[in-house]
Symmetry: D2
Amino acid sequence: MSGNTFGKNLTVTVFGESHGPAVGAVIDGLPSGIRIDMDLLLDQLNKRKPAGKISTARREKDLPEFLSGVKDGLTQGTPLTMLFRNENVRRDDYDSLTGKPRPSHADYSGFVRYGGFADASGGGHFSARLTVPMTAAGAICLQMLRDKGIRIGTHIRKLHHLEERCFDQDDLLKDIEKLDTRLFPVLEDEMEGKMKEVIEQAAVRKDSVGGILETAVYGLEAGIGEPVFDSLEGLLSHALFAVPAVKGVQFGTGFGLAEMYGSEANDPFIVKEGRVATAGNHNGGINGGISNGMPVIFETVIKPTPSIGQKQRTVDLETMTETEIEISGRHDPAVIHRARPVIDGMTALVLCDLLMEKYGRAWFEKERI
Amino acid sequence: MSGNTFGKNLTVTVFGESHGPAVGAVIDGLPSGIRIDMDLLLDQLNKRKPAGKISTARREKDLPEFLSGVKDGLTQGTPLTMLFRNENVRRDDYDSLTGKPRPSHADYSGFVRYGGFADASGGGHFSARLTVPMTAAGAICLQMLRDKGIRIGTHIRKLHHLEERCFDQDDLLKDIEKLDTRLFPVLEDEMEGKMKEVIEQAAVRKDSVGGILETAVYGLEAGIGEPVFDSLEGLLSHALFAVPAVKGVQFGTGFGLAEMYGSEANDPFIVKEGRVATAGNHNGGINGGISNGMPVIFETVIKPTPSIGQKQRTVDLETMTETEIEISGRHDPAVIHRARPVIDGMTALVLCDLLMEKYGRAWFEKERI
Amino acid sequence: MSGNTFGKNLTVTVFGESHGPAVGAVIDGLPSGIRIDMDLLLDQLNKRKPAGKISTARREKDLPEFLSGVKDGLTQGTPLTMLFRNENVRRDDYDSLTGKPRPSHADYSGFVRYGGFADASGGGHFSARLTVPMTAAGAICLQMLRDKGIRIGTHIRKLHHLEERCFDQDDLLKDIEKLDTRLFPVLEDEMEGKMKEVIEQAAVRKDSVGGILETAVYGLEAGIGEPVFDSLEGLLSHALFAVPAVKGVQFGTGFGLAEMYGSEANDPFIVKEGRVATAGNHNGGINGGISNGMPVIFETVIKPTPSIGQKQRTVDLETMTETEIEISGRHDPAVIHRARPVIDGMTALVLCDLLMEKYGRAWFEKERI
Amino acid sequence: MSGNTFGKNLTVTVFGESHGPAVGAVIDGLPSGIRIDMDLLLDQLNKRKPAGKISTARREKDLPEFLSGVKDGLTQGTPLTMLFRNENVRRDDYDSLTGKPRPSHADYSGFVRYGGFADASGGGHFSARLTVPMTAAGAICLQMLRDKGIRIGTHIRKLHHLEERCFDQDDLLKDIEKLDTRLFPVLEDEMEGKMKEVIEQAAVRKDSVGGILETAVYGLEAGIGEPVFDSLEGLLSHALFAVPAVKGVQFGTGFGLAEMYGSEANDPFIVKEGRVATAGNHNGGINGGISNGMPVIFETVIKPTPSIGQKQRTVDLETMTETEIEISGRHDPAVIHRARPVIDGMTALVLCDLLMEKYGRAWFEKERI
C-alpha cells in the first residue's frame, strides 16, 4: 500500500495539505459497536493544539466532522472518516518563500519528490497539520487499549538542557494518569514553568528548541510482536517516524547501552507477584522484538522546530543562486509538547494492530455497548 | 503480510531456526537478467562470519544453495530462494537452559509468543543465524544500488568507551571504499587493534560489549521517501530493528538535536557544484522523511551480546522459582562488527524498494547482461 | 491492509454509507502534475448515474469535492481525496425494513458482520452509492492509461435473453470509441431500445433483470502481470468483485472452454504487422496470468437487482419468525448499464498499478503538464 | 508484497521452477502447536499427483522436506518452509521448443515478462509443479478449518460434454466426505469411468480436455468477508486464478443469473432449525461479499491442457517467422482432476486468513496439542 496508509488489520490513511480545504483520516478495520469516547478524543486533540506564547498563533477549531463509519456515536465497523477543515489559513505568510526552501523543512525534498506540483504553502502535505487526524485516529486506538487495561503516557524528559526524572516503572500507572491530566506533559511539577520559560526565551530570540520525549506503555502482555521484520521495535519506530520532527527512537537504555557490559545491560528474570518479570529494564520491555511483560519504554528525539524567525541562508531554486529568507509565518518555538498525543496515538495504533492480529477484531468487539 | 516478509515491490521473506535444518530467504520482485556478483555476496557473508577470538566458535560454511530464481548466474526475475544449511549444530550446549530463559534474550518473550512450541535451542527463529539470509539478500540489493552509483558503508563509531571519527562527508566515497576492504569495520587504522583488545578483554571476563554503528549512503538522489508513514526514516528504522541487538536508530545528529537551538540545528541550503546542497547535515540527508540529496547518515546502537558466560539470575518457568544459569554455548563477546553487513543489506533493501516504486523494475533491468 | 483499500503502488481507499453524510475515496500514489480531465471524470460519473424510467428515482448531483491532492486542477502527487455528499436521502423508505433483511442483499450478512451496528439504511456501506467514488477514482486511472495509448471499453453483451455481438477484436478501438459516446453501452444501435424495453417491462412487473458485460482492453503491452498470485486474472477479478452484483468473471472464452478440445482452445502464435500475435483469442489476451499483447477480454455477470417491489419472504431477525416485505424505496430494475463505468474504472486501477510496478511512478509523470 | 506471496495474517510464498532444483513454499503466520496431519497432507498431494493413462508420465515423489517451522510434527508458529525437490527432470523434451512458444502456454508472455532470462524449460516458474507447494500449504489450511468444523469439497461437475449432478446442499457434508475418499473427484459413481474414457480418447488423439469444477464450503459461519475490496468473492477469485488453467470463476448460479428475473434469482430468507437460512442459494452463500451462513458454492472452469501432441502453429521468436512445433514432453490430456486439491487448498487459505482476521491467531491455537 502507499505511504499514507499504515497498519495491517487496523489501518489509518491520512490526507490533506496545510492550506488546502481539509486534513483527515480514514480508519479501517475498527471493531463495530464501540462508543467513541469524545472526551478522550477532544482531550487528545486539545493536547496537540497550540496554546499561549509557546506556540504558533494559528488557531484552528479542530473539531472532527465524521463522514462515515459512525452512527449515534458508535463505530459501525465500516471505514471511519474524520475531516478537519482548514479555516485559519494565511497563505500570504508563505508567498515570499515560494521557490526558496526553508532550511531543514521538507520544502526542498518535497519539491523534488513531487516535481514542484505539491502545494508547499504552510508545508503542504508535510505540515504538522497532518498530525490532527493522526492524533484523532490515535485517540480511538488509545480508547480501545484502555478498555483492555493498557495505558500509554509520554512526557518531556529533556527540553534543551533541562532534564526531568524518568518514569517510575514501579508506579507507572500513577505517572501515566498524572500526565493524562496535564496539558504540558511533565512529571515534575516545577518543570512546566522552567521549560516554558526556556521556550519563551527561544521565541524572543526568534529561535526554537527541541528535546526528548519518554513514552511508557503499561499493561501490555508478554508475547506481542513478530519476528523478524514486524518486531515491536520495528513497527513502533516505523509509526513514530511519521511524527514530524522525530529524528531518533531508542528503546530502554537505547544508545546508553553502547557503554555497558553485557553483565550490566542484561535484565535478569525474576518472579514478581507470581509472574515473570525482570530486575531492571534496560531492554525497554522488549526482547527479540517481542514484549516481555515489563513496561515498554522508549524515547524519541524531537528536533528544534525548523521554522525560526531569524534570517537564514537558502537557495532560490529558480535562479539556483544562494539567497536569504526570513520566515514570517506563524510558527512554534517548540513542538515537543504538542508531539505528545501524536506519539501516544501512533503507539496505540501499532499495539491495537498487533493485538488484533493475535486476538482478532472480535476480541475488541467484546467492549461493544 | 506476516512478520517475516518485508518490502513492497521487492520483498524478502526469511525463515529458519538456529538448530533446524536450514535458514534461508526468498527474494521476490527482482529484476531479471542481473548477473549476481558472487564475490560481493560471499564477501558480505564473510563480513558477517565469526572469526578469531572475538567471535563464537560456531563455524558454518554459509554458502548459499540457490533453489530458484537463478539460472547460469543470472536472476530469472522469479522468486530467488537461497538456502543455508545448519551444519555445525550443538544442541547439547543448550539443553541445560531449557525452560530457563537467558536474560535479555528472546527466550522468554518467544516462549510466550509461540506458546512454548518454538524450538528455542540456539535461539531458534530469533537466532542471529537468520542474519545469514538477510545478509545474502542484502548483498544483491547492494549490487543493484552500486550499479546505480549508490554506495553504503557502516563502521564502528563507538565500541564501549572507544570512539573513532565520523564519516568524512566531503570525501564519503573514499571512506566507504575503505570499509569495503576491511573485515573489521573501522575508519581509523589503529582502532582495529584497540577495539579487538576491548572485546577480547570482555571475553576473558566472560562478559560482552556493544557499541554504535554509523552508516552512510552515498549517491542517493533527492526526493526518495514517502510521506507520511513510508518516510525514509520510518522504512529504514523498520528494517534496521530486524537486525538483532539493535535498540536505537538516530538520523543525522539524532538525540544530539535535543540540546541544539533551531538556529544551530538547521542545515542551510547552498549551491554546490551547481546543485542544491546543505551546509552541515544535522538532518542526516532527510527532510520531512524525504532524501534531500545529501549523504543519508544514521546510527544504530548495538547492545552488548546478551549471551555471557557469567552466572546469571533467571526463572525456572516450570516451577516458577528463581534460579541461576551459566551459558556454556558458543557465543560472541561482541557482535557489532558482524552486524555491519546486515545493516548495509537492510538499508539497501529499503532503498531498492523505494527506487523501484519511483522508477519501476524496468529501470534496474537496464543493467541486464 | 484492510478491505476498503486496494492496490499496491497506486491505492484506492473508499468510505461512506448510503444514508450517511457522504461517500468518498482517497487515491494514494498518484503521479504529480497530471491535469485531471474533468470532462472524462464527469462523463464517467454520468454514465453511472441513474436516468429515465430504467433507473431509481434517487437523484444525486455527484459532483466531486476535492479535499486534498489537487491544486489548480493538477494532481499534487499527495493523497487525492474526493468527497460526494449524500443529499437526496430518504430514510423513511427503509424504516419498514429494519430487522427484516431484503433477500439477496447484504442486509443479513452485513448485520452479522457488523453485529447490527452498521447503518443498513439504503444498504449502508454495501450500497451501490460506493460506486460513485470508485467510478471517479477509476476515471483518473482511465485517463492515465489513455495517455499511454491504453483504452478500455465495456458493453452489455447480454441483457436477460437479449444478446448482441461481441467486440470486434480486429477493429477494437472503433468499438471502444463508440462506447465512449454512449450513455447506454451497446454496440448494436437497435439494442438500446430493445434492452430498455426489457428493463421497463420488468419494472412494470416490479421485477428486475441482469445480464453480462463484456470488457475489452486495447493497447496493453505483453508481459504485464505477476505469477503466481498477482496474475492479471487474479488482480482483475479481485477488483471486479468489488463491483456490486458481479457474481462471476471469465476471461476469453471462459466457461465455454469446458467443452472445447485443447486443439480448438489453443491460440496459435502468428506474426502480425511484425509483431507476435495469436490467431484467435480464447485466452482473452492472457497466458499464465501475464498479458500476451492481444486485447484483454473478459466478461462479468451482473445479477438482477435484488431490490424488487414484489412481496418477498424474509425473516424478522428480532422475533426469528418468517415474514414478508415489500420494498418501497427507490430502486433500479437493472443496474447493468450503470455498472459499466465502475468496471472500466476498476480495470484501469489494476492496470495502472501493474504498469507502475514495472515502469514506476516516474513513467506516468512524463505526462505532466 | 510481490506476486508470489498471498494472504494477510496467514501468508503463503511460493517459489521454484519446473526444471530447477526444487519448488517450495513458506507459510507465515501459522498458529503454533498444531500437529500437522501428515495423512491429510500426503493425501492432498496424492490427489494432485499424475496417475495412470490420463496423466503425464512425469512422476515425482513429492514428499515435503520441512526446512523450518516444524518440530516433532508440531507447528512452531515460525515460518514453515516446505521443499519439494525436482528429481524426474527431462530437459531434453523441451530443447526443441526453445524460442518457439507453445500456444496458450505462458512461454511467450513469460518470455516478455522476464526478458528471456527465466528458465522456461518445463514451463519454468509457470509450471503446474508450483501447485505442489500450493497444495501442501493448502492442506495445512484445510486441517485448520476442519478443526473448526469447516469442510471443503470439489468435484468435476462437467468434463467436456459430460455433466454430473451438483452438490446436494441439503446433505452437503455427505458429498464432501465422499469426495475425500476419491482419487478421481466425482459424486456419481459411474462418472469416473465415463470421464476417464473421454480423457483417454483425447490422449489417443494427442488432444486434451477441460471442464468445470464445483466447490462447496460447509460450515462457514455468516459474516465472513470484508467490503468493499476484500469480499469473499474477491479474495477467493484472486487466489483461485493462481491455479493454472483456471479461466473463470462464478459464485452460486453465476453466469446463469443473467437470464433470471430478480424475483427468481433472489434467495428468500427463512428460518431453518432455529437459524436464518435461505430458500435456494443462487447467490452461493454470499451476499454483498459476505458469507450468509449457507454453503459457499462456486465453480471454476479449467481450460483444456494447452500441451498437446498435435502439430501446432507458433512463431520462432528469434527470426520472427511463423513455424510449427510438436510438443513431445510428458503432459496431461486433462488436469482438471488434479486441480481439485489446489482449489480446495487455496479456498482454505482464504478462509483461514479471514477467520484469523476476525478471531485472531489465538483462536486457532486452541487446537494446540
